[in-house]
């Protein structure tokens, strides 16, 4: 055994953490960061710094390093690549040994990968682009409580082409008005779920009363005309258990959580859902404010899928919210498929094998309306959750008609797609045709025909080569 001696002082990160000769093991957790170093810091040093700070190292040598086998636990920066079209930054590939992390806890992994390293001075920008979890680690995760194929088993008998519409705004209604706005109209038609917005749940007027107002009409519908409506109860960390328990008490099959704000209660809440057969909806729409310093959604898919929820917001491409088409298609694959090949054009940096981990629903939301339906069906396909908030409530004849219009549009597109029609190209004809039998769809098309969200995407993939 090699004997090391203790030499106090600062030495360059690269001496310990830059290991270009290292061949990553099948059991390593791999991460790809896009790093923009500070002027004067070279690439190898910056990459090694990130590897060190996100695993075992700190800024100076400490004597306790010698009490352990550092080579067994340390992260290693093993490869550096140019970013296509951008000289100021580079990709750093880092391998972490599987034993560095607690098994079955994606949260534990991410507290290292996106921990203090993001506040690190030597780098100006840091993006966690993607993470590869080894199958050995995947098998230690319980997976989402209810998922695409599980929900297929439990849900409505005929529910295959799905439109989970929802109503989430406005904020500040009284409990009773909230129920009035959401349920009696919407649930008469088959809106798969309705969602309570966070800020409503936070208000003192909300809470239990709102849930009852929301839930009662569903119970009525479920018993009298069938169907499975569901209301997403927002579960907070502080009130998590009582909220979730209460949702169970009133037989609400879906609860909801906010991904970022309550990241730490992920696993606990997911375990609770496993035990109680509840579907967990995850609200995460990546807010891209500073695109150089962020955890890219590709990596966010992971905690969402592996540990936690049955569905997950993705970008939508066509909506009012941010979303690069290639990247969104990549995320959708990542959420639903069991093996995803590396594909730089979709922001997928590694092969990812999910093993038997079931897929989860990608969620499209944010300013979508009937005119978007052909694109949504083409992009998301079956097994997706389409959330029409304003697109339901904002219908000129109210939300029951709005829900019906959305359904007609969805079904017309699915029917045409199955017939082999290129629905994105023929979208207008399909909708116009369907509207002949649906005055609700017709008026919806007239109301929203001018509304488009054609802004340039802020958060783009690096595919433009020089």
């Amino acid at each position: 055994m090699a004997v090391k001696t203790y030499n106090a002082g600062v030495k360059e990160y690269r001496q310990t953490y830059w290991t270009p000769e290292y061949a990553p093991l099948d059991t390593d957790i791999l991460a790809c960061f896009k790093i923009t170093p500070q002027p004067g810091v070279d690439r190898e040093e910056a990459a090694a710094a990130v590897a060190a700070e996100s695993s075992t190292g700190t800024w100076t040598t400490v004597w306790t390093d010698l009490l352990t086998d550092l080579d067994y636990y340390k992260g290693r920066a093993y490869r550096i690549e140019d970013v296509p079209g951008d000289d100021t930054c580079f990709y750093a590939f880092i391998a972490y040994p599987i034993d560095l992390f607690e098994e079955g806890s994606v949260v534990n992994v991410f507290t290292s990968l996106v921990g203090n390293v993001f506040g690190f001075k030597a780098i100006r920008g840091l993006r966690l682009e993607d993470v590869r979890f080894p199958i050995a680690y995947v098998k230690t995760c319980d997976g989402p409580p209810l998922t695409v194929f599980k929900l297929n088993r439990y849900a409505q008998p005929n529910m295959v082409a799905r439109c989970f519409s929802c109503t989430i705004k406005p904020v500040g209604l009284s409990a009773k008005n909230y129920g009035r706005a959401v349920c009696p109209n919407v649930c008469r038609d088959r809106v798969g779920l309705t969602k309570m917005v966070t800020s409503t749940a936070n208000r003192s007027c909300a809470g239990a009363n709102v849930s009852i107002s929301l839930w009662k009409p569903f119970t009525r519908r479920n018993t009298s005309c069938g169907g499975m409506g569901s209301s997403e109860r927002n579960c907070q960390l502080r009130k998590k258990c009582t909220n979730a328990e209460y949702a169970k008490e009133i037989s609400a099959p879906i609860i909801m959580r906010l991904h970022y704000r309550r990241f730490l209660c992920n696993t606990g809440l997911a375990n609770w859902c496993h035990d109680n057969g509840t579907f967990l909806h995850s609200a995460v729409q990546c807010a891209v404010i500073d695109k150089s310093h962020i955890m890219v959604f590709t990596s966010v898919c992971w905690p969402g899928s592996a540990s936690v929820s049955g569905d997950h917001h993705s970008g939508t491409i066509v909506s009012k919210l941010e979303g690069d088409r290639g990247a969104t298609l990549g995320w959708i694959d990542l959420m639903r498929d069991s093996f995803i090949k590396e594909d730089r054009s979709r922001g997928i940096m590694f092969d990812q094998d999910w093993g038997s981990m079931p897929g989860v629903f990608p969620v499209a939301s944010g300013g979508i309306h009937v005119w978007h339906m052909p694109a949504l069906v083409a992009i998301f396909g079956d097994d997706a959750c389409l959330q029409f908030g304003g697109g339901t409530l904002g219908h000129p004849w109210g939300n029951a008609a709005g829900a019906a219009a959305n359904r007609v549009a969805l079904e017309a597109c699915v029917e045409a797609r199955n017939r082999g029609v290129a629905i994105e190209k023929e979208g207008k004809a399909i909708l116009t045709d369907a509207a002949k039998n649906s005055p609700e769809l017709k008026i919806a098309m007239e109301t929203w025909k001018e509304i488009k969200f054609e802004f340039d995407t802020v958060d783009k993939l690096d595919v433009a080569h020089k």
Binding site: F149, P157, R188, R190, E411, N418, G420
Partner: protein, 118 residues
């Protein structure tokens, strides 16, 4: 104030009941049904026929018409089974299912003969 039209849908009105996929569209005609069967076959799914009395349409399990037609790719034979089921149960909803054995669930399901609602 713009003109608002009431949306005709009542819990008390069985005719306004919906039964998911394609129930918001007018009933599919023969040609459209054939296209959907072709879609199931082209996807490599296993076709199956089920039926139920309309009053029990929301029950999770419908009557199976024989067994799923595993490996059947002949569109004519699938259509013939659906029609046989419809003839034998003229008042019932009859649905076409495509079982996807890779993701272990139904790839699609749709009512192709609408029963008589009561």
């Amino acid at each position: 104030m713009s003109e608002v039209i009431d949306y005709r849908s009542r819990l008390s009105d069985p005719a306004s009941r919906k039964f998911e996929t394609f129930s918001y569209l007018p009933s599919l005609d023969k040609d459209q049904i054939r296209k959907q069967v072709e879609y199931v076959v082209n996807k490599g799914w296993n076709p199956a026929i089920e039926h139920t009395e309309p009053e029990f349409l929301m029950s999770n399990y419908w009557y199976m018409w024989k067994l799923p037609m595993f490996g059947e790719t002949d569109v004519e034979r699938i259509l013939a089974e659906a029609e046989a089921c419809h003839k034998a149960n003229p008042n019932n909803h009859v649905r076409l299912i495509g079982y996807n054995n890779f993701n272990q669930s139904q790839g699609t399901a749709m009512v192709i003969y609408r029963g008589k609602t009561v």
